[in-house]
């Protein structure tokens, strides 16, 4: 194909546009977080703060003193605590889901057992059930089991809601993988479960890594489930805490933006580190 100069300029423009569109809100968040509320009020000439300050971060982590908070009130230590809760929830839920889903994906993909096809259909079919319907019904059940406002309760819900998707993604991977290594191990006298643990799981490792990242990202970003199932700082992840910084009438944008920036660092790093695997898995699904 002949590429004219005009086409190349157009293409460069389009690429620039995509990068700006993707990054502009993040850059704006960073510059806002380094501003004072007064500079935010100054308008366009102060989009980039003339006097960058970490005041908003200090107020976010150390707590607002009151008068300068401008509609937003933060308590000392609560933000850091919520970041830890989010991390804990993401790690625990992702690893538990992976264990459960890898086992099921292998069984559905490689083993012929009675009702296997039916059970797979049930499992995959639950992906159609919107999570919010389940959470509303779960609310009362969890209240009865004293699981409201606990990390344990949230992890249970995350594992259950993520298992169908994780199993499906890993199942398609198992189906596409060559079966020869496992067969060779079976001929060499391995028991089936030994072949699964020693041969198939290592074979699946890159898919498992991609699914792990996708699971961790979706738990970190989850909002509705913890909004309904938590009440206090005990199990409140950062997504829920951050919405409380939106004031009813006015909002302290630097503090809000500082929270947003800190909350986006872990998922952004994870996505950048594993971006090839994640894009491959997402495009394939």
């Amino acid at each position: 194909m002949t590429t004219t100069l005009g086409m190349r300029v157009l293409k460069a423009l389009a690429v620039t546009l995509i990068v700006v569109w993707s990054l502009a809100p993040i850059v704006l968040g960073v510059t806002t977080s380094l501003s004072t509320q007064r500079e935010v009020n100054e308008g366009p000439s102060h989009w980039f703060p003339h006097h960058p300050t970490t005041q908003a971060y200090r107020a976010l982590i150390g707590g607002t003193t009151g008068e300068h908070s401008g509609g937003t009130v933060t308590q000392r230590g609560e933000f850091v605590q919520s970041m830890w809760v989010s991390a804990e929830l993401a790690l625990l839920s992702a690893s538990l889901t992976l264990v459960v889903a890898t086992m099921a994906a292998y069984a559905f993909g490689r083993l012929r057992f009675r009702f296997g096809g039916f059970l797979l259909a049930v499992l995959v079919g639950t992906m159609v059930v919107p999570i919010f319907v389940v959470v509303i019904a779960l609310f009362k059940l969890m209240a009865n089991a004293h699981l409201i406002d606990t990390k344990k309760g949230l992890v249970l819900v995350f594992v259950a809601t993520l298992t169908p998707l994780a199993t499906w993604l890993l199942y398609t991977q198992v189906r596409e993988m060559p079966a020869e290594p496992e067969e060779a191990a079976l001929i060499d006298g391995c028991r089936r479960w030994q072949a699964f643990v020693r041969v198939v799981i290592p074979q699946m490792s890159s898919g498992i890594a991609a699914v792990a990242a996708i699971l961790a990202l979706s738990v970190w970003g989850e909002f509705l489930i913890p909004l309904l199932l938590t009440q206090t700082q005990n199990a409140k992840p950062v997504t829920v805490l951050i919405t409380e910084y939106v004031g009813k009438y006015t909002t302290n944008y630097p503090i809000l933006a500082a929270g947003g920036v800190l909350a986006l660092i872990p998922p952004a790093l994870l996505a950048l580190a594993l971006n090839k695997r994640i894009t491959g898995m997402l495009a394939g699904s």
Binding site: A14, V15, I18, W21, S22, L23, P25, L28, T32, V40, N41, P44, W47, V100, M103, A104, A107, F108, L111, T126, V128, V129, P130, F132, V133, I136, A137, L138, K140, L141, L156, V159, A160, T161, T163, P164, T167, R191, R192, L217, W220, G221, F223, I242, V246, T251, Y253, A257, G259, G260, A263, L264, A271, L272, N275, I278, T279, L282, A283, G284
Partner: protein, 300 residues
């Protein structure tokens, strides 16, 4: 020798049966206890009365809660808003997604960097997207007002999120910002499957870029379009986070899910909240099934 082989086979077949069951039990147990069982419980709730809190005797009321929410003006508004969110979001995502995919399809210097940057908005929590965009729409000192005032396009600050139609457009924009990466990747994968020879052959025949796009790229992207349409619709129909952060439960931007939240947890009316949730779930399931059929037809 064949007899011995058979017995070996039986033994390993039984082992396979048992192992298969052991391996799927945890997944099935989690899904049954925490999805299927609550689903049944929730449905029961939706056909019961609201209870003493609402001055009623507890008991079976049939389809009354469903009729109530389908006739309730606020719920109807929420349904209309949701339809607007879905139509707007999905059309933007299809157009922009194809634009991004066509732009990034061919290899160029820095493509890896652009692809890495591209997925960032998808990786961020949608609550954070809302937080990042909030300053843009703030009526007092938001960026949008500042720019428009500066350029003398408007004379007074405009309260963006308070006006009916407009607010839905801005919220959809924030939603699309987070979903577009996923849609673009779906189209990129679709383009990957188009062999390069098709383009070079058509170029020999004198087809320009526009004709190539119209008569080669678009038709070959049809299966990807079905997938993108499904994913886009299912994500937009349950829009919640972006609305909650940008405009709370304000009436002018309420989606069905915000209405469900408000009914169930603010007004504590579980019976009607669950009924509305099941209406949305039914629509979602029908759409999902419909698309699955369309998808099968277009790929086979």
């Amino acid at each position: 020798m064949p007899g011995r082989w058979n017995r070996e086979g039986d033994r390993s077949a039984r082992e396979t049966q048992i192992l298969g069951w052991i391996l799927v039990v945890p997944a099935m147990a989690a899904v049954s206890a925490l999805i299927l069982y609550p689903l049944v419980k929730g449905f029961q709730q939706s056909i019961q009365s609201g209870g003493i809190l609402f001055g009623e005797l507890p008991g079976y009321v049939g389809t009354r809660n469903y009729r109530d929410v389908l006739n309730d003006p606020t719920s109807r508004d929420a349904m209309r808003h949701t339809l607007e969110y879905v139509l707007l979001a999905v059309s933007l995502e299809l157009v922009l997604g194809i634009f991004v995919a066509v732009t990034l399809h061919r290899v160029f210097r820095g493509r890896g960097f652009v692809l890495a940057v591209l997925i960032l908005p998808w990786a961020l929590p949608s609550v954070v997207s809302g937080v990042l965009w909030r300053r843009v729409f703030d009526p007092d000192n938001g960026l949008l007002n500042s720019v428009l005032l500066h350029l003398h396009i408007i004379n007074q600050p405009h309260v963006w999120l308070a006006s009916g139609r407009g607010a839905i457009v801005y919220i959809t924009l924030v939603h699309v910002w987070g979903v577009l990466p996923l849609i673009s990747l779906i189209f990129l994968a679709g383009l990957q499957s188009v062999p390069d020879e098709v383009y070079s052959a058509s170029a020999v025949d004198g087809a320009g870029p526009w004709r190539q796009f119209r008569y080669i790229t678009l038709p070959l992207l049809r299966p990807s379009m079905a997938i993108a349409l499904t994913v886009g619709t299912l994500l937009a129909i349950s829009i919640f986070d972006e609305i909650y952060v940008l405009n709370g439960t304000a009436l002018n931007t309420r989606s069905i899910l915000i209405q469900v939240y408000n009914t169930t947890f603010v007004e504590a009316d579980f019976a009607h909240g669950t009924a509305l949730a099941f209406v949305l779930a039914a629509v979602t399931a029908v759409l999902g099934g419909f698309y699955a059929l369309a998808l099968r037809r277009s790929t086979v």
